[in-house]
Symmetry: C2
Subunit: 336 residues, 2 copies
DNA sequence: GTGCACTATGTGAGCGCTAACACTACCCGA
DNA sequence: TCGGGTAGTGTTAGCGCTCACATAGTGCAC
């Protein structure tokens, strides 16, 4: 099938040069006469020549592909990150190959990475938001450029992450500033670093104001679990402010409060995290924390490219992206 | 950098056979003695040998990679589709390379496809929900396996699509069955086939009941546009039933209705489309239409693999996946 | 002019693999 | 007994490209 397109030698013949000169033009080498360069380009255009990435990958040992390992690319955060990563990579001339995994356990991660290595990817980005992923990463070959996103801050692996702690602190402080005596927290799954960071920031903000944190409510990112937690919180008259670990949890909480007749923000204020596009259209519009996924993508790709170019695998760089608070209508002072 | 791993010859040497025998074992060829096969496998395991995909792609002219072209992989539909596609492809031993594009115009699509072709992908899946994408596809080389998802039903290109018409008809009929005199529709962007199909289904259901369709409200998939349309609909006392082209539009509509004091479903019933995970936690829980993304992914991959194996590029197959209605609390009979 | 740096281009090898074919046993029926 | 299949394996030739090196041409100091 597939009539093989023209190869470099065909271009060379048409342009009246050697294949090597064509290669030089393609790779932007100096020491090619302007006139020759033009002739080669013309031949490329005329033949519709397209360089064969596989051949290049074979000889250089690296393809212009970046492998991404992620778990649930349907969630808003991972999906945004993936899209941003792809966009940024494309600008740098890299393609992105996705290897999604069902679980972020040792075996799954290793298998996904192996698959990427078989294709000789130039580097790998692992979106590894849970504890179990960390172990796998340390056992990986050290000679392949690797960056983790939202991974374990404790591990000696290059890491780019949203500053969960700062974001959560800002959210909590925002509620305290509005006059609330304390802030309740509906968290994400306990094994996610994102959750842990948000819990930590929430706790820190309260402690900094001399407030003893109230009991933590555990959710799992889903609106369903937010709803369940919301049903409990709605029945507690002393609750006036809730910070949820993401917007979907907030949605569930909002509905539970609505059902119990607790008005937001008149009776209870709510702050979310993520700023999903719909957050502005919740009832009421949700005040939330917006992580900058583009910045995360740019930073991780930059880190990866540095490794690729310098030929280093696995330094221990670290970069943190500060999120910003987006104030909407779901926060108001408490009524006494 | 990257210490090159062992090659096939290394395995061959260790196993005491020729590299060709190793190749045969790897590719599951017959005519290899069981004992030899075992010896080779042992050598592979001992060396941690991993076949070089680039070399294979070079010689066969096709890599074990499927390219996907999509626009906005942050939207729930495309994201789900992409994830499902990746999952299914992995099961078949294929990797998925994403090439997202900003616009679905001729040039962008072609460029993305070109990028995939440069990597000699085995096949391409284009998620091409708008008119302008169609043109680009017809001009593509005919010798590369290609499947479009949610594309133009009119074009002679293999296509897998959700049955938008049937879904919309079911949604509309569901509202009529509840006793509503007519159903208003907030549509998606007019250049999307998904929109067109949903409009068609809505119209067909009304006409089948002898109802003259009311004016169409144009949205753009976003909650923001749903909100704007909702503000108009909320002020029209005769409106008792609304079908929105997706759940996010419904969310915007719900908020607008809420602000105007129109209760859902007591005063107005609403039905969405997509069944995003949060739909069950809208206020009230949203009745909606659920497309089966997994089925779409499976069907398109199957179609692609058939082409790849048979060496045919571009037949004109067509497959339609029926969506299902998910009834929740946002629909009730009208009050007289 | 000779030597030498420097630019512009060509030549040859080989990356790791598969496809085509060659070769060696061995078994079988005539 | 011998021709001819067939299972199991080896040999060779590239796929299209980059890298290292070889070669020609140019400018310039001595």
């Amino acid at each position: 099938m597939a009539v093989h397109g023209p190869a470099m030698t065909d271009v060379a013949r048409l342009a009246g040069v050697s294949h090597q000169t064509v290669s030089r033009v393609l790779n932007g080498h100096p020491n090619v006469r302007e006139q020759t360069r033009l002739r080669v380009r013309a031949a490329i255009a005329e033949l519709g020549y397209r360089p064969n990435g596989a051949a290049r990958a074979l000889v250089t040992g690296r393809s212009q592909v970046i492998g991404v390992v992620a778990q649930n690319t349907t969630l808003y955060g991972p999906a945004s990150l993936l899209a941003a990563l792809e966009q940024t990579a494309a600008e740098e001339g890299f393609a992105v190959s996705v290897g999604s995994v069902r679980n972020l356990d040792h075996r799954s991660i290793s298998a996904a990475v192996e698959r990427h290595l078989a294709h000789r990817v130039a580097g790998i980005v692992v979106i590894a938001p849970v504890e179990s992923a960390g172990e796998a990463l340390e056992l990986l070959p050290k000679d392949v450029p690797l960056v983790t996103v939202d991974g374990d801050p404790q591990r000696p692996v290059p890491l780019v992450t949203v500053d969960q702690v700062a974001g959560a602190r800002a959210a909590t402080q925002h509620l305290l500033d509005a006059g609330h005596r304390t802030v309740w927290h509906v968290s994400g799954p306990s094994d996610w670093f994102d959750s842990a960071g948000r819990i930590e920031g929430w706790r820190a903000a309260l402690l900094a104001s001399g407030i003893d944190p109230p009991p933590l409510m555990h959710g799992d990112w889903s609106a369903a679990s937010g709803y369940r937690c919301g049903q409990m919180l709605a029945r507690m008259p002393e609750v006036t402010a809730i910070f949820t670990a993401n917007d979907h949890l907030a949605l569930g909480v909002l509905r539970a409060l609505h059902e119990f007749g607790r008005r937001v923000p008149a009776d209870i204020s709510v702050v979310g995290f993520d700023d999903v596009p719909e957050a502005a259209y919740f009832i009421p519009p949700l005040t939330t924390v917006r992580p900058d996924f583009d910045a995360v993508a740019r930073a991780s790709l930059q880190m990866l490219l540095t490794q690729i170019e310098s030929g280093i695998g696995g330094g221990a760089l670290r970069q943190t992206i500060a999120p910003s608070l987006v104030a909407r209508d779901s926060v108001a002072p408490p009524r006494h």
